[in-house]
């Protein structure tokens, strides 16, 4: 691991403001997955999510000098993405999500160790389960698995207390199990 990886957001932001454009790469690596996760949660479409995450990171770079407190970069960049989505959503209604769409857009299910036929059916139902969840639960679930984020990182990104994030994750999983039982998965 490069020593720079451990630098706090604040230091990296100051470096970028100081003219070190390359340092912004650290922030991109750090936030691309959770921005993508949040964008996917909002729009339900990989293509749009990728565009949103990308635009957000570019806008954040261009407007980095407007950030009031570099320590709050996580929340700041999430707010940019939400604003961008809000502008986008006025024109395009959110599409419905299905496994086929996801696969067509590049979804690659990790560790399909339960056998291809079963896995596909199960994944198909899992997609339905996840996307039938209320937004607040789906949001934390998607962020949790966008990369291996800790409760604290999710909380900072969403501007929520850590306990709320923990609770929402538990409820989200409880609802997934409930839906799975209803659909005959369990």
């Amino acid at each position: 691991m490069e020593p720079r990886d451990g630098l706090p957001d604040e230091t990296v932001v100051r470096s970028v403001l100081g003219g070190d454009a390359e340092a912004y790469g650290l922030l991109v690596e750090r936030y691309r997955a959770r921005l993508f996760g949040l964008a996917f949660h909002l729009c339900g479409d990989y293509d749009t999510a990728a565009d949103l995450a990308q635009d957000t990171l570019v806008t954040a770079y261009e407007c980095l000098d407007r950030i009031k407190d570099p320590r709050t970069f996580a929340g700041w960049v999430a707010a940019i993405l939400r604003n961008k989505f809000r502008n986008l959503a006025r024109a395009n209604p959110a599409p419905t999500v299905s496994l086929d769409q996801m696969v067509a857009a590049g979804f690659d299910p990790p560790n399909p160790d339960t056998g291809p036929a079963v896995a596909e059916q199960e994944l198909r139902q899992a997609v339905e389960c996840v996307w039938s969840l209320p937004e607040i639960y789906r949001e934390v679930l998607l962020l949790r698995y966008s990369e291996d984020l800790s409760y604290k990182q999710i909380a900072e990104f969403l501007g929520l207390p850590v306990t709320t994030v923990t609770m929402r994750l538990t409820y989200a999983r409880r609802l997934v199990i409930k839906k799975a039982k209803e659909s005959g998965l369990l």
Binding site: E2, P3, R4, G6, L7, P8, T11, R14, L17, G18, G19, D20, A21, Y24, G25, V28, R32, A33, L35, F36, G37, F40, Y46, A49, A50, A53, Q54, L57, V58, Y61, D65, R66, I67, K68, P70, G106, F107, D108, P109, P110, T114, E122, L123, A126, V127, V130, L141, L142, R144, Y145, Y151, L169, T170, R173, R174, V176, I177, A180, L185, L186
Partner: protein, 541 residues
């Protein structure tokens, strides 16, 4: 009966936040409970469909960095519009610094927790040169480092070291302020501090390695010696040929050639050091937060020299670009008195009376004088005076029957004052000399800086394509233009006052000196009161 774990526990298990023992018992339960195993599998399936595809994320990174690379030509001005409190920040401090008080031989570690790393010793990092200055015990090792990873390593280490280390903290720890303020304090630093400074303006990093040698008193020499060196914890060079003071603390600027000092162009509240070749340019600036207040340096009345500092505080957020500016004027006074005191002692000061030719040639002084004179005939004297004003190449500013204010070339001031004194009996005489060198140079520099900013903005205006940016830049240009005009007006006024001295003369007739005697018997000065017989009424009381 089997107790199945709660969904909360399952959830925590999936997030890996259960304790080791609980995880073990949970997994033992999973091994024998197909229902719970299935539950976990379903949740893992749900997790899988939440994972973003990796190639998509890679594409996001690549696209963003490509666009960032294109946007890398963002102007410095844009970057300057930042709330970051310091523009050039000290990124790291490595090494162990001890401060030893010579009086009680006690040493304290300046940055506990920030231990000296192996390999980080007195040797310059990555080569470089060593410069040891004079006898004040300050050695300065100037090194270059282009190794960004070591820079960040240092930063990481500094952040591990606990509390944030700022320049102010270093200054405080090193006790430099105390050392400078009072020669009685003998603090010596026995170790080395490696300070990495990042200059955002030219996007380079320099390592400065400063060693304070042990058992040396860091006492500043307050006298301004003939060779013009002001040394001490804060090192400066005085150049008598142009009256500037350059330098600043232990810093050197290395710009490819030999290390050299850079002039301080503003000192309060921050020290701003610019490249020696570009005094007022906006490049190569260092801004140190809460840096030393240089006023403390000049608080030594026993010295045969008088250092005068002037400054213009940089606008904290002056729109596009910072307005920086200051000048440093140095004058020597053999009488140990300030110029104004000297002027009051000498009724007709001229530049010739000033102590040092090298500095006084540049002094800008506004001379003014006021006289009250008793004359035999006001009209004759006034006529005489007006003729003389013409002879002195002066001109009348205001005049009435008894009073005249006129202006004469400053070169004639001394002669004029003498001749005016001979007009009659001088009952009041005030001669004032106001030194405006500092003010004048301030104005000049502020104009220069503002014009530089305006030029830069004009260049930006041509490049800007967004309406919002255009408006912002135009507003800023308008503001700068107004400011430049105002400053130029002030400069003209000051210059005019310096070139022409102002003299006010109040003429009074000698005969008018005798005041009318107070009327006796309760009679009033006013004739009409006497006529109505009011004194009779007054007497009855």
């Amino acid at each position: 009966m089997i107790f199945h774990p709660s969904t909360k526990k399952v959830s925590r298990y999936l997030d890996g936040v259960l304790s080791e023992a609980t995880t073990r018992s949970f997994e033992a339960h999973l091994a024998k409970c197909p229902a719970c195993r299935r539950k976990v599998e379903v949740l893992r399936s749900a997790a899988r469909v939440c994972c973003p595809p990796k190639q998509r994320l890679e594409a996001v990174s690549q696209n963003v960095m490509a666009r960032v690379g294109q946007a890398d030509s963002l102007s410095y001005e844009k970057r300057w519009n930042t709330d970051a409190p310091i523009l050039a920040e000290i990124r790291s401090v490595e090494g162990t610094v001890f401060i030893r008080n010579a009086a009680n031989e006690k040493s304290i570690e300046a940055f506990p927790g920030c231990a000296l790393r192996q390999g980080d010793r007195l040797e310059p990092v990555g080569g470089g040169s060593v410069a040891v200055e004079g006898e004040n015990g300050v050695a300065c090792l100037v090194t270059e480092t282009a190794d960004v990873s070591s820079l960040y390593q240092g930063a990481a280490q500094a952040s591990r070291g606990g509390a944030g280390i700022s320049w102010a903290a270093i200054r405080k720890q090193l006790g430099a302020r105390s050392v400078l303020a009072s020669s009685a304090v003998a603090l010596t630093v026995v170790a080395v501090a490696v300070i990495v400074v990042f200059d955002p303006f030219i996007r380079e990093q320099w390592n400065y390695q400063a060693a304070y040698l042990p058992n040396q008193r860091h006492t500043p020499e307050m006298a301004l010696p003939s060779n013009g060196t002001v040394s001490g914890g804060l090192e400066m060079m005085y150049d008598p040929t142009n009256g500037t003071v350059s330098g600043g603390d232990i810093w050197r600027v290395k710009d490819g050639g030999a290390p050299r000092l850079a002039p301080i162009i503003s000192c309060i509240p921050d020290i701003i050091i610019s490249d020696a070749d570009q005094k007022s340019a906006d490049r190569n600036l260092f801004i140190f937060e809460n840096a030393l207040n240089l006023d403390e340096l000049v608080r030594d009345d026993t010295a045969a020299s008088l250092l005068k500092w002037s400054f213009v505080e940089p606008t904290p957020r002056g729109g596009v670009g910072w307005l920086l500016g200051s000048t440093v004027a140095v004058s020597e006074s053999t009488t140990k008195a300030s110029p104004s005191t000297a002027a009051s002692k000498s009724p007709a000061p001229t530049p010739k009376t000033a102590p040092s030719a090298s500095t006084t040639e540049k002094r800008l002084v506004i001379y003014t004088a006021q006289f009250s004179i008793l004359v035999g005939s006001v009209a004759d004297s006034m006529k005489d005076l007006l003729q003389k004003i013409e002879k002195w190449n002066g001109y009348v500013q205001t005049a009435d029957l008894q009073r005249v204010t006129f202006r004469v070339p400053a070169a004639n001031f001394n002669r004029v004052v003498e001749e005016v004194s001979q007009l009659g009996v001088v009952t009041n005489k005030q001669v004032q000399a106001q030194d405006v060198t500092r003010q004048y140079m301030d104005l000049q520099l502020r104009i220069e800086v503002a014009e530089t900013s305006r030029k830069r903005l004009l260049a930006l205006l041509e490049e800007a394509d967004k309406t919002e940016d255009l408006l912002k830049i135009e507003n800023e240009i308008r503001r700068l233009t107004e400011e430049i005009e105002r400053l130029k007006g002030e400069l003209r006024t000051v210059a005019d006052q310096v070139v022409y001295s102002t003299i006010a003369v109040d003429l009074t007739a000698k005969a008018a000196e005798a005041k009318p005697a107070r009327p006796r018997g309760g009679r009033s000065y006013f004739a009409w009161i006497n006529q109505i017989g009011a004194e009779h009424v007054i007497r009855t009381f």
